[in-house]
């Protein structure tokens, strides 16, 4: 039994060790107490003086936010310095009386009071809060003369963000606004609290948000001696801030502006991409809004108007609108069929004008059908029956596999918003998708009949314009796929060093040359003798295209007024194009909401964009004035 320990002895040893631990604890606490005695009694006078001298405040100096320019250096977002009139509530006494008295000297509108009140609720007591922004020189002089009457009121020079072109490209650029609780969390997660001391504004959407930490710059500090009341006495040391980096975009702002004008008051989206890099040349979502409204905090009236507008101007349709692609889907279906060996280009069907599956009849647009249809003709004349049959032969999962490979139904990862989550995924229908999407088992099953209308880009299909543009660019680039991006270079303001956003090919899909040739030839045919022929009459360059008409799929969360319902029920018009076919410089996708036939409303916009980008040809009419307007605005 010698192997077993004695429990009594064990317990004694344990209690002895408890006693030892207790002594150890007391000894350690004793060390702490002696340290406290040392600091708080023996050295107290020393630290007392240090604390009283500790009136050196570190005052943050907010850096200049980086400037955003288009590919040619046209300024899209910059800062200007202006005087603001600010009140420090803790020093000002009665705020009501102070503001009333100020109103006698300086023009103060009710909206200024409202904003002041709102900011006051958010602010800490010792911060100064603007009561008036953008004072004129005369107003500054006038206030200075009366300054003695207003303790705690100061004129300060502050930098303001400005978007000189107003609503142009607002969905791409985004805007900045005052930092909220949610933004603070973001800053904390990025561990940048220290760098945001003194910063009031932060990017809220678009590029302003995506590149926030590039644009912001590094906060500098001024060491200032302050008196007991916290007033600055003299400056001791200054560590200057480092301005934020500038962004040079791939966007061509003239192209952008002309395109936005071309939409007129129609809702829609256009994305134009340089197929060789993925650089976005134009990113249009109409209607737009003026980002300048947000900089000082948007007024509730303006916000209400923008947010409740039936046309949803705040929605960036290029990345958040998911639409069925309609017939623009067909060239991709055809390519999928060639690549997967489900069709040859020569294989033809005889189109009676409908396709019967089970007891359901799927109709073609053209009554009586297109006659004998091979792949070329199916694209040029947009024959539905050809694709009903093809979709049925391929099966939903083969379709999903190919469409997924060109990025449909996935976030493209374009550099907009805080992270990818701001972008919609759209819907790439497949058996798996349906299983995930629906809860009830009877809804989860994929029916073969549902595949038929997928073939002509209807059914569950829903893709964002940016996905469609990326797919067109990939096709134009013969299967080498790039991530679409808006920033070309990040420019260091101090050294002028340019850090390019490298166009990295996402993947080479390895499509066969002879297959691509079939599709390219057919898409050129669309604009020569097919559905795009009218819009592209007399075009001097080679251009591939495809029209599309999509049954209405209303925007998520959109609510339309009854009076607008009729227009709302009209189909969406789509057009995809790229040119020149042999060496593509531009690929695009256009969508006009409720625009009817793609050939009628979407194709002319595509033609105009291509003419301008490739030939420098301005659209007829108001074009001349437009470009003057841009030039003038640049000079500001």
């Amino acid at each position: 039994m010698g192997d077993f320990n004695n429990p009594e002895a064990d317990l004694d040893r344990f209690r002895f060790r408890l006693g030892f631990a207790a002594v150890f604890v007391l000894a350690c606490f004793g060390i702490l107490i002696s340290r406290f005695v040392w600091l708080q009694v023996i050295q107290h006078d020393f630290y007392q003086t240090r604390a009283e001298d500790n009136r050196i405040a570190l005052i943050p100096i907010v850096p200049n936010r980086g400037v955003i320019t288009d590919r040619n250096g046209v300024v899209l977002a910059h800062n200007y310095s202006a005087f603001t009139l600010e009140i420090t509530p803790s020093q000002a006494g009665s705020l009501e009386q102070t503001i009333d008295a100020l109103a006698e000297v300086i023009d103060i509108q009710p909206k200024d009071r409202k904003r002041f009140k709102r900011l006051l609720d958010e602010a800490k007591n010792f911060e100064s809060i603007p009561i008036r922004t953008r004072l004129s020189d005369a107003e500054v002089a006038k206030f200075s003369a009366h300054r003695y009457r207003f303790p705690g009121v100061e004129v300060k020079a502050r930098l303001f963000r400005q978007y000189p072109l107003g609503a142009v490209a607002s969905h791409a650029i985004g805007y900045i606004g005052r930092i909220t609780e949610r933004d603070l969390k973001w800053i904390e997660e990025a561990e940048r609290q220290a760098n945001y001391k003194g910063t009031d504004h932060i990017g809220k959407t678009g590029l302003e948000q995506h590149y926030e930490f590039e644009l912001h710059g590094e906060t500098g500090y001024e060491q200032v001696e302050i008196d007991a009341g916290g007033r600055a006495l003299r400056s001791l040391k200054r560590i200057p801030p480092v301005s934020g980096n500038n962004l040079q975009l791939t966007l061509d702002i003239k192209l952008q502006e002309i395109t936005e004008k071309a939409f007129g008051d129609r809702k829609g989206a256009l994305v134009a991409i340089d197929p060789a890099t993925g650089g976005v040349l134009a990113l249009v979502s109409t209607p737009t809004y003026d980002p300048n409204l947000f900089v000082d905090g948007i007024t509730p009236e303006n916000w209400k108007e923008l947010n409740d507008h039936p046309d949803k101007p705040m929605v960036n349709r290029t990345i958040n609108g998911a639409y069925p692609p309609g017939s623009t889907f067909k060239p991709f279906m055809a390519l999928a069929a060639l690549e997967m060996g489900k069709r040859t280009a020569q294989q033809a069907i005889s189109d009676p004008g409908f396709f019967t599956f089970g007891n359901h009849t799927f109709r073609d647009d053209k009554k009586g059908g297109h006659g004998v249809v091979d792949m070329y003709k199916s694209i040029v004349h947009s024959c539905d029956t050809y694709y009903y049959v093809l979709a049925n032969d391929m099966g939903i999962d083969n379709i999903a596999k190919f469409m997924g490979s060109i990025g449909l139904g996935q976030r493209t990862g374009i550099d907009l918003g805080k992270d990818d989550a701001g972008e919609s995924k759209g819907v790439l229908p497949s058996q798996e998708w349906k299983k995930q999407r629906f809860k009830k088992p009877e809804q989860q099953k994929w029916y073969a009949g549902e595949t038929i209308s997928i073939g002509i880009g209807q059914g569950y299909n829903a893709y964002t314009p940016i996905q469609l543009a990326q797919a067109v660019a990939t096709l134009a680039n013969n299967g080498v796929m790039f991530r679409p991006h808006l920033v070309q270079n990040i420019v260091d303001t101090k050294t002028g060093d340019k850090r390019p956003i490298e166009p990295k090919p996402l993947r080479d899909l390895g499509w066969k040359e002879k297959n691509l040739e079939v599709i390219h030839r057919a898409m050129i045919g669309v604009n020569k003798e097919g559905t795009g022929a009218r819009a592209f009459a007399g075009v001097p360059y080679s251009v591939g295209g495809k029209t599309g008409t999509a049954q209405v799929f209303s925007l998520k969360g959109a609510q339309y007024k009854e009076s607008a319902v009729k227009k709302n029920l009209r189909d969406h018009a789509l057009f995809i194009a790229y040119a020149p076919v042999e060496n593509p410089k531009i690929a695009l996708a256009v969508l006009v909401e409720n625009g009817g036939f793609g050939a009628q409303s979407a194709a002319p916009i595509a033609r105009m964009v291509l003419d301008y980008y490739l030939l420098g040809k301005l659209p007829a009419g108001a074009a001349r004035e437009d470009s003057d307007a841009i030039e003038e605005e640049h000079d500001e």
């Binding site: 192997d3 077993f4 320990n5 429990p7 064990d10 040893r13 344990f14 209690r15 060790r17 408890l18 631990a21 207790a22 604890v25 007391l26 350690c28 606490f29 060390i31 702490l32 107490i33 340290r35 406290f36 005695v37 600091l39 708080q40 009694v41 050295q43 107290h44 020393f46 630290y47 007392q48 240090r50 604390a51 009283e52 500790n54 009136r55 405040a57 800490k124 007591n125 997660e189 561990e191 916290g230």
Partner: protein, 370 residues
């Protein structure tokens, strides 16, 4: 007829049957001090204080639930919890979220968790179970196995890198081994070896960890970085004097000189406003807490409950000593909150898990003897 008053009285008696009032009163006193200090530290808005009060409510519920779980039941959690802890730590190592160069967090959909926190409880639980199992046949090799059980999670946490938490986890495990009777010869030998290996260990530390220790020796080398924290905290404590500047009157606190003032550096806020008298009171409260814990350990009926109670109690001591030591400038700055005082829900829940275990051990001891 049912005697309603009697029923209620019995229900109440049952509800509080496993509460240890001395422990509850001591922790309540420290928490009250903590709440007042959080209020002072975040004077501009009361939302931190309210949310800390809510955290306390949750933590107390956790304590109440755990106190009702008998130690035998707790023992059955030892292995699963330890394994879960190890798996999560490996997961952090492989796919953790990198924040500031350290991989400490694991994303679980809606929120992020810090698995090293689990180890603070899982480690002593596991080792106490282990020594309990082999109590009758304890040999030297068992200490070797125990050391291995300790070193694996310790290494994983240290690798994140989070040396502060690694030390706390390691300490919790070491206390169990110590109370289990690790021979003095080995303890002395280990200390000697640690001393000899110090230069090697020093080189294994990350740059920022070395910097923290160097800053401790001479804070003025880094007046804007980590040295700034120590300088300002020391000034706060020293200027507090014998009786303090009074509640809400700390200039260091309210002129924003103290960093992390509602979390890791809350002691500086407290010390500035309440002075040496306040500090002595707080240290006294911690001493009471630890004393009560050691009493519970001493009276505990089984090896498992003894070791666990002893280790948890010394854990409280370690947090308190390291935090007050670092804020007053005698220990390097590591991210350890002051127990029951610092703002933060996770730490509070872990602490009350410990309190709940102590209460369970104490209130179930008679049942075991029968």
């Amino acid at each position: 007829m049912m005697d309603i008053a009697g029923t209620l009285r019995r229900a109440w008696a049952n509800a509080i049957a496993h509460i240890d009032f001395p422990l509850l009163l001591i922790t309540a006193a420290i928490m009250a001090v903590g709440l007042g200090t959080v209020y002072s530290a975040t004077y501009d808005s009361t939302h931190r204080m309210m949310s800390q009060a809510a955290n306390m409510g949750i933590a107390l519920v956790v304590m109440w639930v755990i106190s009702r779980v008998p130690p035998q039941k707790l023992m059955s959690f030892a292995i699963p919890l330890y394994i879960v802890g190890i798996v999560l730590l490996v997961a952090v190592f492989l796919f953790g979220i990198k924040v500031n160069g350290a991989r400490r967090w694991l994303s679980v959909g809606f929120t992020r968790v810090q698995p090293s926190e689990i180890m603070k409880i899982a480690m002593p639980l596991m080792l106490a179970w282990y020594f309990h199992k082999y109590e009758a046949t304890l040999k030297l090799k068992h200490y070797g196995v125990a050391a291995l059980l300790l070193l694996v999670p310790f290494g994983l946490v240290a690798k994140q890198p989070d040396l502060g938490t690694a030390l706390l986890v390691g300490a919790a495990g070491f206390y169990v081994i110590f109370f289990a009777g690790l021979p003095w010869k080995i303890i002395v030998g280990l200390i000697a070896m640690a001393g000899a290996a110090a230069p090697v260990l020093w080189n294994m530390l990350h740059d920022y960890q070395q910097k923290r220790i160097l800053t401790l020796i001479d804070p003025t080398t880094d007046p804007l970085g980590s040295g700034y924290h120590i300088i300002q905290a020391t000034i706060a404590i020293g200027s507090g004097g014998a009786v303090g500047k009074g509640f809400l009157n700390g200039t260091q606190t309210h002129l924003e000189f103290i960093p992390e003032k509602h979390t890791d550096f809350i002691f500086a806020v407290y010390s500035e406003e309440w002075g040496l008298i306040g500090n002595a009171t707080l240290v006294f409260l911690y001493t009471l807490l630890i004393g009560r814990g050691l009493m519970i350990a001493s009276a505990a009926p089984t090896t498992f409950s003894r070791l666990l109670a002893g280790a948890i109690t010394l854990g409280f001591f370690t947090y308190a000593f390291i935090n007050m030591g670092m804020v007053s400038g005698i220990l390097p700055v590591v991210g350890v909150p002051l127990p029951f005082m610092s703002y933060g829900g996770t730490a509070l829940v872990t602490l009350f898990l410990g309190i709940g275990i102590l209460m369970s051990i104490h209130t179930h001891r008679m049942l075991v003897k029968k």
